[in-house]
Symmetry: C2
Subunit: 91 residues, 2 copies
DNA sequence: CCCGTCCAATACCCTTTGGGTATGACCAGC
DNA sequence: GCTGGTCATACCCAAAGGGTATTGGACGGG
């Protein structure tokens, strides 16, 4: 699992459509589809149901989405803290 | 920034020595040194002071260490939750 | 019923990234 | 000034990641 994969996952979840998410992420659809597959494989769980209409979060996926957002938020916070001159541990 | 880089950073911080951290991580010293440099470059801040005795966390580094640990813990929690059969949002 | 459209998945290629080995530069202790 | 230990650099190779082209399947309009 990588942070990039989590960003990809969140984008797909929000778009409900791999192609649109790819456009939003400025990459093409096939690599994004592969990254999602790879993430699911590593987690040992499908996160979406696929159909010809797009993708839809499974209950597991919804739960994981919360975690993913929390992780990415922590990363942003970590970066932000380093931008500040001195210590100011917000969380 | 990647999760692997954060794991590397934590290991180096805990060992205070890139070579020992590399051994603990089962990689060799030069790639680890490079990854640390790369992380520092991306963050735009040095995290350690280097010397011939090893490396030592700077104040910024100590602060970032807390964030890194929190992030990695969140990742572990996310994985753990997916291993469980059904919903049980701990945090 | 067929055709066009939209979706994800697959096949294949190429660039980039990441790790390995060998080596250098630097400092401390003796 | 030699030795041992440290991080950094140079170079190589394998693996990962992204791109294009294409396939297969489902839906809707005619």
């Amino acid at each position: 699992m990588s942070l990039v994969q989590l960003e990809y996952f969140v984008a797909i979840a929000e778009e409900g459509n791999i192609g649109r998410a790819a456009k939003r992420l400025h990459i093409s659809q096939p690599p994004l589809s592969r990254q999602l597959r790879s993430l699911e494989a590593e987690l040992g769980a499908e996160l979406f149901t696929r159909s010809t209409r797009g993708v839809k979060l499974l209950p597991r996926g919804k739960q994981f989405l919360e975690h993913a957002r929390r992780i990415l938020a922590s990363v942003e916070e970590a970066k932000r803290c380093l931008s500040l001159p001195s210590g100011a541990t917000s969380s």
